[in-house]
Symmetry: C2
Subunit: 335 residues, 2 copies
């Protein structure tokens, strides 16, 4: 439990989260002998956190197929089981993504009519925030899956970003109709179907994500994951360049000193921990994946996102939207 | 000619380039009636630029198949033909990428043993510069093509970045061996072959590009193009955030004013025009694609890159490396 960083990070994150969400209650799955002393140090957590003993844990190198067969005593399995049993509204984990998805699909099941779940990410843009999915649940996606992602992403944007009619774009290597591989072209054809209840804007390119051209960017998990990590790397690089540029001259250092508050605000805004969490969409239950290497601040952000998700009714919306889609265009979308 | 921006941009770029490369000579393909008055205004260009009349031009919306059949009178066709004829060492265009690649393949031919050309991009990193390819020549790539890209990228890094033994990584959604789709896994298997003369470091992720983890990042054209444009968009977004953060407070504005020189240096460093140009690798000739919407500064950077390429002997290196690769591992790589 706790991904690369261990249970200490999770307990420290809980301590932050209870301040922000006084009504929330937590089930903490893991090794009781490890967790008890950690909780004992934080008496305010006591009434809000219940430890559920799980003797084993999924390791980062475990294969999804292995954990499905032999992982029933792990904290990850137990956490998802508590959602399945209705004891918890949402499960949060910083562990092995592949294992988390496999266990989630196995225990919670995939929503009726959705072929594959996706991981959605909330992305900062010039206009505010956009949703990008899939950022890593799937290695490749056919056109029906991309259409499913569009439906789920659109419902998610309404539930989480509070938009009435989110715009949706398909990520491609050009905005012209002739560009791209067969799956994106076929998905665009389905989404352009006149009677669909989706504000589909066609193809968008990589730079449109940060531009905020559309509210929901749909892509396969391979390209989406590469885009997400490339953006994270680029933001870090620019901050490194900024620091270097300011340190190179006396005026730079002086200006940087005077503008320290503004630069700190910038760093906070770019801090990947502030929007830490990929949301598994398309399951009969909510699962949030925190970044594996995060700290208490980052894991607390994942908890925030999980609590938002639980309150949003996003699963009901996805089910309703999918039903609308099928009734609007039965011959193409009903797979 | 001149992409979205027209011949005025190209002529202004030539005026910059002749100052930096006094020995270079240019063939300018396009409509003589348009080009003559533009050149007449810049008498210093006169002795170094020769106009070659081409009555037509490829439009941005033209399909590659169409221009191959009906584009023989275009400036793009003529520019590539002049490389084929040995009159020019390299062709530069800001036009339609698909048309430029199709015409280049048709006229120049693909290097023996290379299955598909790729577009290489020079990418700023924390350590300096890396090569990323393919950034858009192909929509999907099988394992043999990815191996070809590795060979070409490695030769390119030695020729252009001056590295003796560039390291090579395959872009994937995780660094573990089990991750990714079949093509990247099979390509990794071939590249790991012990006797290959390539410093192959295995899988890298999106954030490794800006980190400079390896000198050459190999990927398919779909993911590569999305990564490139996502990075451009992210860098622009961070600069927008920086401007916003500084303008929001008096201290921010004051600090920004004092550090103006440093911030200007940062903007110059991030200016995509400074490294403008995708290099077509794998052809019997050199073709450089400038960004379509660029200005004279950007197009002049593409000319710089073209001149560097012409001097580097990169094609000879690729041919030699490919031959080494085949002799080192005939059963897997010789396709």
């Amino acid at each position: 439990m706790g991904g690369d960083s261990g249970p200490g990070v999770v307990v420290a994150a809980l301590a932050r989260s209870v301040l922000r969400h006084p009504a929330a209650r937590f089930l903490l799955h893991g090794d009781e002998a490890t967790l008890k002393p950690l909780l004992a140090k934080r008496p305010k957590l006591g009434p809000k956190v219940e430890i559920r003993h799980a003797p084993e844990q999924v390791r980062m190198e475990d294969k999804p197929s292995t954990v499905l067969r032999r992982g029933r005593n792990t904290s990850m399995w137990h956490a998802i089981a508590s959602v399945k049993a209705g004891e918890a509204e949402v499960a949060v984990s910083a562990g092995n993504t592949g294992a988390l998805m496999a266990m989630s699909m196995f225990q919670l099941g995939v929503l009726d009519g959705i072929s594959r779940p996706a991981i959605a990410s909330i992305w900062p843009t010039k206009r505010g925030q956009s949703i990008v999915l899939d950022v890593g649940a799937n290695i490749s996606s056919d056109s029906d899956q991309l259409v499913d992602f569009a439906v789920m992403g659109e419902a998610f944007a309404r539930a989480i970003l509070g938009l009435e009619r989110p715009s949706v774009g398909l990520l491609n290597v050009g905005s012209e109709d002739v560009k791209g591989h067969d799956a994106v072209k076929a998905a665009a054809h389905i989404l352009r179907g006149a009677s669909l209840p989706i504000e589909f804007r066609g193809f968008v390119e990589g730079d449109d994500i940060a531009e905020g051209t559309v509210d929901v960017v749909v892509t396969d998990g391979f390209s989406g994951n590469i885009a997400l990590k490339t953006a994270e790397g680029t933001a870090k690089l620019v901050v490194t360049y900024l620091r270097g540029a300011l340190n190179r001259s006396l005026f730079g250092r002086l200006g940087g000193f005077i503008a320290a508050g503004a630069l700190k605000a910038l760093r906070r805004k770019l801090d990947p921990r502030a929007s830490n969490g990929g949301i598994f969409l398309g399951l009969n239950g909510i699962v949030v994946k925190s970044h594996g290497g995060t700290d208490a601040i980052g894991f607390a952000s994942a908890l925030d996102m999980a609590i938002d998700m639980a309150r949003s009714g996003v699963i009901r919306r996805i089910i309703a939207d999918r039903a609308n889609l099928i009734s609007a265009m039965p011959e193409a979308a009903a797979s």
